[in-house]
């Protein structure tokens, strides 16, 4: 399987009473009360250093994502981070996994197609092209897109992006939301017919259908862990089977929070407060932000209204041991972490493209590197062979990186390709 290091680029020093004093970590947190640009510059550099550390340590890919007006993750342009990583990882077999630039917030959306083509060129064909719908907070609340148009715009932009990468001729796009008379992308991606496409989702039925119909890798970017995702991912695999696709595990991606230490007890001592910071502060927002009226289509709205017993758990009432026990976070010794990932994520969800979040909330730089180092040395090698016995091809991974293990960087960082 393929294992990538994911990063949110969070604010690591929110005040202790943040969740009591402020209504939300997203959309409305006041910058001038909570942040300092010089310090935030340090966060960005730590983030890049941590992902580069992961790249050198043997991870298969490095992942960035897009959020807006959000103190738990503020890479409004993941492609700026991706550009740094693409250049700095030249000479390695590490994939640049953009999870990614959000189509409905990019106008015109061929901007994403262009920037991804640039990243593919710079990295020598190592791009994984995440094409997310984007959250309601980012797209509707921060970027002003009408909730009822959100999915329609996404679907049109998705089709436009795929065509822009592949068309041999200049074409005109006369769409409902986008009209471009001369689409003629410069540059085009190295990977043909186009870079592998991953579509992140959060469990919506209509996204399952969309992912399977378009033959992409569906990625569940959950903060609730694999245990809680089991029913939902089974729903995805049911759609895969129903639509007659092979149940190739590489058709699925999953994000799991992970913390590794010498022993289970040491993990608690080192990571408990950072895990609690993440769930108590970073995921602090009014529940109605998730779905303004019209954001869900009618079918999903009816389904959600009927199953209102399945309300999200109040994570503010939980502590470290609850998060570990319930599987929100897989934490402990290397053996514990390895066994739980194999059981709960790999087998439990049938996932071939694993993403792990190793910098969690307030976790400082040095501890993040320690977590990454332990994971890379003591956990990752025993996971890499998963699924090999079944002989699946990871069609959703850059073709030139599909062979064996990633090799640590031979060339000095920054030396450039070839």
């Amino acid at each position: 399987m393929k294992i990538s290091a994911f990063h949110l680029m969070p604010h690591r020093e929110l005040p202790d009473d943040f969740e009591k004093r402020y209504e939300s970590v997203w959309v409305t947190p006041p910058w001038h009360e909570l942040a300092d640009a010089e310090r935030v510059g340090q966060y960005y550099n730590w983030t890049l250093d941590e992902l580069m550390f992961a790249a050198r340590a043997g991870f298969d890919g490095v992942c960035t994502n897009e959020h807006h007006q959000n103190a738990y993750g503020f890479m409004p342009s993941p492609n700026i981070m991706g550009a740094v990583l693409a250049k700095a990882t030249n000479g390695t077999n590490v994939a640049i996994v953009q999870m990614g630039a959000t189509l409905p917030t990019s106008n015109p959306p061929i901007r994403v197609a262009e920037e991804y083509a640039m990243l593919d060129c710079i990295s020598g064909g190592r791009l994984v092209a995440g094409l997310p719908l984007g959250s309601a907070m980012d797209v509707n609340l921060c970027y002003g897109i009408t909730p009822m148009e959100h999915r329609e715009r996404y679907r049109e932009a998705f089709a436009l992006t795929l065509k822009a990468w592949q068309s041999r001729e200049l074409f005109a796009w006369n769409g409902r939301y986008y009209q471009l008379a001369n689409v003629n992308l410069w540059p085009r991606p190295i990977q043909q017919p186009h870079p592998p496409v991953w579509v992140p989702g959060s469990g919506s039925i209509s996204t399952f259908d969309f992912a399977v119909d378009n033959d992409v890798c569906y990625c569940f970017l959950s903060y609730s862990g694999a245990k809680a995702a089991k029913t939902m991912m089974q729903g995805y695999w049911d759609v895969v089977a129903k639509k007659g696709r092979e149940t190739n595990p590489y058709r699925a991606g999953f994000l799991q929070l992970v913390a590794v230490a010498e022993t289970d007890a040491a993990a608690e001592a080192k990571y408990a407060r950072h895990v609690e910071y993440f769930y108590h502060k970073c995921l602090h927002w009014p529940i109605q932000y998730l779905s303004p009226p019209g954001n869900q289509d009618y079918r999903s709205l009816v389904a959600a209204a009927k199953s209102n017993v399945r309300r999200a758990e109040d994570t503010k009432a939980l502590r470290y041991r609850d998060f570990v026990e319930k599987g929100y976070v897989i934490a402990g010794s290397a053996a514990t972490v390895r066994d739980r990932i194999k059981e709960e994520v790999v087998k439990g969800l049938r996932v071939g493209n694993l993403m792990v979040l190793l910098q969690i909330g307030s976790m400082p730089h040095e501890l993040t590197l320690e977590n990454m180092d332990r994971f890379a040395r003591e956990v990752l090698p025993s996971l890499r062979g998963e699924w090999n016995d079944e002989g699946w091809v990871n069609s959703w991974w850059p073709e030139r990186l599909r062979g064996g293990a990633a090799v640590p960087a031979a060339a000095p960082v920054g030396a450039g390709r070839a």
């Binding site: 509707n140 609340l141 002003g144 009408t146 909730p147 009822m148 148009e149 329609e152 409902r176 009014p286 529940i287 109605q288 932000y289 303004p292 009226p293 019209g294 954001n295 009618y298 709205l301 009816v302 209204a305 009927k306 209102n308």
Partner: protein, 269 residues
């Protein structure tokens, strides 16, 4: 037509080349009056009964807000499409030179119709209409409120009978689910035309309104502050404002007899 006290009659008018179906409830006798509802859907209420004593009231449901035809809303891209749909609906109803009454979102729409088709509108009564934006008095986005707090923004007294009728949950779980879905979808379908700020260019078009105009505002409107009445009165010649004591954003539901009388007097005057 129908006597007050009896149930409203119902008909569905196909517009937009048959792709959008507008269900219209009608009741009463006298000159025609069109009522355009706000963001929370249409329910026949004591205010409409009050009007039906003096008028033949036609109350259409905005595209998409009728439970049988939720996806009709996807046929319309913008406010211009919606105004054209209503022109077609008025044509089908045979309404010309009638009184238009609109509340909130429906008030904005009534004003747009009066600007686009001055001849269709005899008199215009706008109850807490949307359509303008002031940075100093921001309209509260009801679509982003905690559902538990929404009634307190719409009604001065969220515990009132009228508030329970709009937001209350039925005892029967299926009915409660249907009500929740209908409320959310009504907000989404009407919100499509005003997200994220309910200023969609009425200020460029409102000078075309020639009908005598009455503005009605609840004195304690917490959603669209009463100062917004100024935006209308300074642009529509002769427009008058009447405020309603003890009312929030839905004065016609909070004081149906008072607002009903205001409109009757306005039409008679």
């Amino acid at each position: 037509m129908t006597p007050a006290g009896s149930a409203a009659t119902e008909r569905t008018i196909p517009v937009w080349d048959g792709k959008v179906r507008i269900r219209v409830q009608s009741k009463g006798s006298g000159p025609a009056l069109l009522f355009l509802h706000g963001p929370w859907g249409l329910a026949w209420d004591p205010f409409l009964d009050e009007l039906a004593k003096s008028f033949t009231v036609h109350a259409p449901e905005h595209p998409g807000t009728t439970p049988d035809t939720p996806d009709d809303i996807y046929q319309l891209d913008n406010l211009w499409d919606l105004v054209l749909c209503y022109d077609e609906a008025l044509q089908a109803l045979g309404i010309s030179g009638a009184t238009l009454v609109g509340h909130s979102f429906g008030g904005m729409l009534a004003c747009e119709l009066a600007a686009a088709y001055p001849a269709r509108v005899g008199r215009l009564a706008l109850i807490a209409p949307l359509g303008f934006w002031r940075d100093s008095d921001r309209v509260v986005n009801w679509m982003m409120l905690d559902p538990a707090r929404l009634p307190g923004y719409v009604f001065r007294d969220p515990g009132s009978e009228a508030a329970r009728r709009m937001f209350g949950t039925a005892d029967d779980p299926d009915a409660a689910t249907a009500a929740r879905v209908r409320l959310a979808w009504s907000m989404g379908a009407t919100g499509k035309f005003i997200w994220p700020i309910p200023d969609k260019g009425l200020k460029k078009r409102i000078h075309r309104v020639s009908a005598p105009t009455l503005l009605v505002w609840g004195k304690e409107d917490r959603l669209v502050p009463p100062v917004y009445a100024d935006e209308f009165t300074r642009r529509i010649a002769g427009a008058r404002v009447q405020t309603v004591d003890g009312a929030g954003h839905v004065p016609h539901l909070e004081r149906p007899e008072v607002v009903g009388r205001m409109i009757r007097d306005f039409v008679a005057g």
